[in-house]
Symmetry: D2
Subunit: 487 residues, 4 copies
């Protein structure tokens, strides 16, 4: 397995990034660049589909965008000035090429390609019904149910058929679709996953994060709003639809601010970097400690550590050095050296730490395995005291909206209270930012418990949708819908 | 492109070979061996699907069986004692992995895998209708229409649904299908493509040719009869069905005797080698010539040349030596050396030929390009006279039943009469065996023109089925049903 | 391992083929074609070196010429109108890229590339001495000693230094060398391995066999004579040298006639095909048998079988059909099917053989493993009697001149007399052509025992040179000169 | 090209890292880990040689250690408890596998492997002489001259022969050699390149930097001293030799402190991180500026930026976000998007920078191309003023001791004075640390101009050795010693 995760294995993992361009001469090259900028949202596979006015062209590959899509020949074959793409970390479905998006189908209306960030939480039920009716699935992806619902809809226009399909699904979805009639971008009624719209010259661009606009030199226009469906047609004309009405209060994912999005992205008007520094400052206010150094767990803890340092006055220092070569994970050979693991990625800056009291800042604790190793590494390097501060509340619940979470039983915060966790990771003290402190850093005064402003189910267990497929968790674990294993 | 055709490019090409095993511990290993023995029937791709009682397992690959399926790890993953496979030279549809058979689908009845030798001649029409009804195709193969028809059939049992599907298709099909309920083997009502049944211990085996039984050590039982559908279930129990009645006279493909089948196969009771020697003897009777040597065009002309030599008394000699390394085609680099083509495959045995009158024996002439080069090579090697004798009648018509023929306009015999052809290839004389001579070599007294015993449409233009998709040839050439190109 | 031997594993194996062109615009493309035509002389690796008047260019690859050298880009990089190449089956030295020829060295006189067919039988002794003197070897090939001897020679001109080097080596060598001063081709004093000279336009060509001339369209001039050294310089001028005098009677390898050379080659004026037919005729005279069919073991037994058939009047028939796909060996997966081996390559033409008395013709018996299986296959196919006739005398001794022979103890003819061998392979009778019969087929009246006309040591044990390295066979087996294993 | 440089292309580049282990059961696995930790010193190729008491084993590969050496099978084949390895960025010689170190030779004393960090500055002269004497080089690497000198030395013992060879070479070399008699580690008399000695259990370890000890869990003992030669033999016994006497004052490379070494390494007793922070503080003292933010050019500018921020009181912020996926460079497809280059690696944190006066901190300026782009990026993100501060003096001279520097004419500081450079990169102000300031940060009071404490030739032009090969620079540029190009 060549591709790996630069972020720690002991993190929640965003599942997907999507990017689409309408009306640029070099559409597929721009999609490749945009996906490269979104690579942190999905490292296992990537795909691009283009439409040249006559034919659709698709290339999919396991692995990173770089190395697979930075190839003149491939980009040339992805002809046309309309294209969309997808980077993927597998949520549901095996990691096989036929699950790599954009998914494509020949419909009676012509070709149809779809890129999906999120997760359909009633996909299993829908699929079962569709197969009974004679549908043949080509992937094991939840996204494919949308295509089959669309293909079978009795409505007349493609747009009505697409809306008919969306009304039958529940869960989280930000979508970019390619059709001979134009590009469709939309976001589920709660707006759980992000989607932004930009412009470069005349071309209209959609992306999961604004950072992808920076890379291609595009200008940010606005977010696609929760429940909004935008159609771009001939001449880059834009029409906005509201197929679901506007009654529900949106609840975008709060973890995008904590960890998923890049610090140089802007989410719904908030600088991600500034929010993270703000969380660090909140932490310094809520859980102060007397220490010599503030040390970030690289790289995700850096902004919060700067915030903590500036608020507390304790100097910020690089106490942990991160190898630059972990883009390609080193698989340690030989049994005797296997326990060295974490040192390949991080190494203590021993000369700095020796004899010091330190505050370690990390963005979250998932299973706790990495925190345990890092505290131990600090102690071996001579730290006198190790205080851990976490820039999010304890992660206690699974996500069903397109984020890879370990089963609940493996979440450290599900099994232990904060004191037990401190003991487990051998920290002298441990503190998490409060849920209200987190909301405060994003600019709210506090969480509105009656109608929360964000989806924070991973911290609170307060899920914003029904979870049809998951009502019986035991059942889902046994479910073996698909018998074929491609070897 | 690694895989190539050992047989001359200037030949008709059989499209597929199929092989299935029910009830052997090493089913998928046996399928791999069987497909290897059938490799001459399709060299571009191969696939195997197995059923282990719980799950289906599939592996498909571009290229030869050897190198792709002679791998312990892959065979181990293809677990189970029931398996079927396919070798393919692309007929319809691009040469992409998703067109490689066995095709597989998850139906409401469970998994379903299908291997198909032949061609559905109304597939385009059926596909158009199915897409209109919401079906989503995963391949561009004509075979997939059978699966969709089956998935949508209103009949209750899987077998009735399958027969319902078959009754809607026209053309040529020998099929081996894998279902959780057992293996199904069947042959279209005319029996255009071959299919034989054998046994190894308790296991039941189906194959395109008997030579595949020899390789796995199995015993030949009988041909699957035209219009017969055989179901093998638990305990290797066999049930024969006749879903199409028995009114039509079968018309198996006569070209299997001329060229497609291996000389060591037995087709409907006739040794292919003996038939080919018989054709050679017929040629010697019908078109004698005074000459010093009988020389086969290797390798397909050898049996007929032996027959010609034995009938005529002119000695059989190897006047053309074939390179042993053409399994991997040498692509000549450099413009200046490109014209050398044919010498890489064949070389004149100059010391033998110089100053001699020779009879060249080949099985067929398609475009005539190779014949032209070989006659020229003989003359350059010093041959005094070159007489060409062909072990089949002139090939004047296209095949729509699973054989790769050039468009009609490129068939030499469509454009010229025999005298013109002789002039074109620069032969001193040229003769083809008569159509009745050909039937005679297979054991008939002559062709029954009212109700021919074989499909000989490539020689006579007398097609045994309607050709729905091809009524308007111009149309079919324009038709661009599928817009997606996988790059 | 991708590359394999189309010839039976149970054969002696020629080690190398060489080819060189002086003065053609497309020199390296011609070398690639020539090597492709010589591929039967070495299938494990190939290499080409060219000289463009300023720089030497080299490409080496494991595997066949096709697939490695039929590439415009590679041929273009092998610039210049002078080039030589090599195909290799490893004799001495591991099969690693750095042993692949042409070997190259930067000498004080400039670059020097060498292609060698044969084996230096005192290489181990010379190497030991050279290393003691400070030489650093880059390969484990015996050929490299020639370069070091040349580099260290005290003579002044490159030619004198080269001759000085050759005078220190013993054994078999046909060489083509590239230097800034011209091309050198030479053959050891006994002329053990073949080397021929040809012409295409102005260009001078050297090759192991004439068949390579046919493929590139060149004209055969003459053999390079045993002990002759030819220098080609500016303007394709040729100068012939006789550095070793002319006292010794040449003894070229007789096995080239029996098996190594292609049947369409001409060796020292004799058509290889005609010689092999002649051996078959001798066999029919010396060891007649009453039978229904003469059947060749394909493909090497075919010419002798035709000769036997024509002499005896028993019809020649294809009783064994050879798969066309063995260029890529099928490695049988699964233990249960491993014993099927031989059927993957050969299959009995059962319909022909059943109930018949047959004469099987093969060119040689080495270990006897294949003969055993083929006789058994014939019996299983129903043969009433199986008589084996071999177109060479019993192979009883190892070769030390560039041919891969099993250790002597594994040669069937070393362990058994003819009667025992017949019993071992279960033949009803077995006969070998006599040594004088073999000489007769090549045009001699008989073997001159006092001063034999050929090297026939593999049959007679009469080695034409001293064997310095091999005086103590036990020692050589232990000798582990080279400690580095490239993993 | 798969492998790339995570560090900016516009930097000087250390050429090599070396690592050796004597006496550990898992020696080659430890070497792989150690090389991985030294990957920043050479990313183009890697190699390991081991000695198992009987045989040497070598594996070399183009590309990173991860992906090539983290493989159980390869590590298992590199058997033995003594091993050494090398990572490489090519200095002299083409980047071909045969130049990848460790270089290996079979000498009369047995095998000999050598890993070299540095550059022999009279290699061309030595090579010319050796070739004239009959030596045949297998690589184009300067290191190989050491082996030939050793092989040809007239001294009796291996150690004396090795010292004899070293006395003939000039330039920079830290070496780890493997012989059947033990491991040899040594450093040139000036100690230009670093080499440290550590211990893990009984095993003795040598490495280019201490960070490699951290990764394998070893303990740092001391530096190998300039001019010291250490032999480790049976039982991990260590003997130190001083073959060159002790008269010269050492001059280790000062750029190791500035950029080459990892911040978590300790160089001759100085923490690299602390030195770099110290340079930043010096810069703040020498060249203060009024500004809102201190922003590092990631990643190499971070420690100096922290130092600058702490000294000046201006807050440290992440104003440039670095992509995590540049381990694999994205090659932008399509002409129209090619100019986007730098944004793929760095992106401005626009929300932070807009409207601010900033101080940018980088470690050095080489060609200035990156500085230009980064200043421009800051302005486009809205920076009001951009002040650049460089944590080293202007780089004005080439290095001949194993560091890849552009030809002198391309060094920005060679062509311009500081004011011109500021204008060129469009900075509001530009300042470099003074040479004495740099020495001060390392703990000296100032540079001793009569006998400098470090090699700082890249800043001062004061080269510590003669430069035999480079006396005539014009000549060296023409010199085309090696004619063979491996294609």
């Amino acid at each position: 397995m060549l591709t790996t995760h630069p972020f720690d294995d002991d993190k929640l993992r965003e599942e997907c990034g999507i990017f689409g361009v309408y009306g640029a001469e070099t559409a597929s090259a721009m999609v490749a660049l945009g996906l490269h900028a979104l690579q942190h949202r999905g490292q296992e596979a990537a795909g691009i589909t283009s439409w040249d006015g006559e034919e659709f062209h698709t290339h999919r590959a396991m692995g990173h965008v770089a190395g697979n899509f930075d190839n003149d020949e491939i980009i040339r074959q992805l002809a046309g000035d309309i294209a969309c793409g997808h980077v993927r970390y597998s949520t549901t479905g095996e990691t096989a090429l036929r699950n790599v998006q954009p998914l494509y189908a020949d419909l009676s209306s012509g070709g149809f390609a779809i890129s999906h960030n999120g997760n359909i939480s009633n996909a299993t039920n829908l699929r079962r019904r569709l197969v009974r009716e004679g549908a043949i699935f080509q992937s094991t992806s939840d996204t494919e149910v949308i295509i089959h619902l669309l293909a079978r809809s009795r409505y007349r226009t493609l747009l009505d058929r697409f809306i008919d399909a969306l009304k039958q699904v529940e869960g989280a979805y930000s979508l970019i679709c390619l059709t001979p009639e134009g590009m469709i971008a939309c976001r589920d009624p709660l707006g759980i996953r992000p989607l932004v719209m930009g412009r470069l010259g005349d071309a209209i661009i959609f992306a999961s994060e604004t950072v992808a606009f920076d890379v291609v030199g595009a200008e940010y226009i606005r977010s696609v709003e929760p429940g909004e469906l935008i159609v771009v047609t001939q001449g880059c004309e834009i029409r906005s639809h509201r197929p679901f009405g506007e009654s529900v209060r949106p609840r975008p994912c709060i973890f995008e601010h904590v960890y998923f999005s890049r610090p140089d992205s802007v989410l719904d008007g908030n600088s991600v970097y500034a929010v993270r520094k703000g969380i660090g400052a909140q932490l310094a206010l809520e859980s102060p400690v007397e220490a010599d150094l503030v040390i970030p767990v690289p790289d995700s803890g850096v902004p919060a550590a700067i915030g903590y340092s500036q608020q507390s006055g304790i100097p910020f220092e690089l106490g942990i050095i991160r190898s630059h070569y972990i883009g390609r994970t080193f698989i340690q050979p030989g049994d005797k050296v296997r326990h060295l693991g974490v040192k390949l990625k991080h190494n203590a800056n021993r000369a700095l730490i020796d004899g010091k009291k330190i505050v370690l800042i990390d963005d979250s604790i998932v299973r706790g395995t990495t925190s345990l190793k890092i505290v131990q590494m600090m102690r071996e390097a001579g730290a006198k005291e190790v205080h851990m501060r976490i820039a999010s509340p304890p992660t206690r619940h699974s996500c069903f909206y397109g984020v890879d979470t370990p089963e609940r039983g493996k979440l450290l915060a599900h099994k232990m209270d904060v004191a037990q966790m401190a003991a487990y990771i051998h920290a002298d003290s441990l503190a998490f930012v409060s849920i209200d402190g987190l909301y405060r850093a994003i600019g709210e005064t506090m969480r509105d418990d009656d109608s929360p402003q964000y989806c924070d189910a991973c911290f609170t267990g307060d899920y914003p949708t029904t979870l049809t497929d998951f009502d019986d968790m035991a059942e889902i674990n046994q479910l073996e819908l698909l018998h074929e294993r491609v070897v």
